[in-house]
Amino acid sequence: MKSVEEAKEIARRATRRIIRKTLGKYYLLWSTYPLVIGVLYILTPPSLLENPLPYILTLIPYLTLTSYFFMDMGKKLRRYKELIGWKSRRRVSLLIVLMLAGFVMLVLGYEPGFNYLLILGLSLYTSTVDYYIYYTASFARFRYYDLLTMVTFSISMFVWFLPLPYSEAPYLVMSVVWIFSGYSSLSEVIEDV
């Protein structure tokens, strides 16, 4: 039985590396988003600035890659949970449903100014994304840079969607922090980064 426990410990280390690698790629991917949006904003003619379509289209490759990263990691995490006999699928499914509900509220409630649907959507979406990062990172040892990504993400979302001053500044900070977190995560698991 001791050898089984030792073997499971080796599998746990493998799982940690897989999760950290996924988080690193996810952080690096989204660190470029504020920059891409910034460039898009500069290149868009003033008459089209109010049109949300280019920004929505820009989201598609980001969401596709994010889904790919997390679905692949999810499969591996489920196999690891099989090994340790952990059943928590329902909790993850509920979290994803709440995240999507928050996103829908955010889209429906989006209009200049404050409104309750927008604030509720923002709160639900950011808290579920943050919790998902926390939940995933906790399998790979939660690091201070995971916390930094969660904080910068939440602040950026609120400042971007609500009519608050200096809305671009947190996005730039988020970009830098996410590059740092992505680099730190990957340097934990990849040689010669």
């Binding site: 499971k8 410990e9 080796i10 493998a14 590396r17 897989i18 099989e82």
Partner: protein, 96 residues
């Protein structure tokens, strides 16, 4: 009880490092040799020997592959390896 004895006395799976390597590959599907070195914390020669035993038993496949970072040795679990882990987990579940 017989199935537990059969699995735990199986020379391929009786070693914790070898079993751990197989379980890691069950989770990840495939891993590079350098990943496995870090995960198992074994010396290169021991890991190589364990991989050879697992490969001879048909539980994994080891091959060279060209990646962005250069040529890498990749270990990948086979269908037989996956079935073996599943049977192992079933037996453990019954035992617990």
């Amino acid at each position: 009880m017989e199935r537990i004895r059969e699995l735990t006395t199986n020379p391929v799976l009786s070693n914790s490092a070898r079993l751990g390597t197989l379980l890691s590959l069950y989770v990840a599907n495939k891993l590079t040799f350098s990943d496995l070195l870090k995960i198992t914390e074994l010396p290169k020669s021991s890991l190589f020997a364990h991989l050879q035993v697992l490969e001879e038993a048909g539980l994994i496949r080891v091959r060279k592959q060209f990646t962005v970072s250069g040529p890498r040795t990749i270990a990948e679990i086979t269908d037989k390896g996956r079935d073996t882990v599943k049977r192992y987990l079933d037996v453990l579940k019954q035992f617990q």
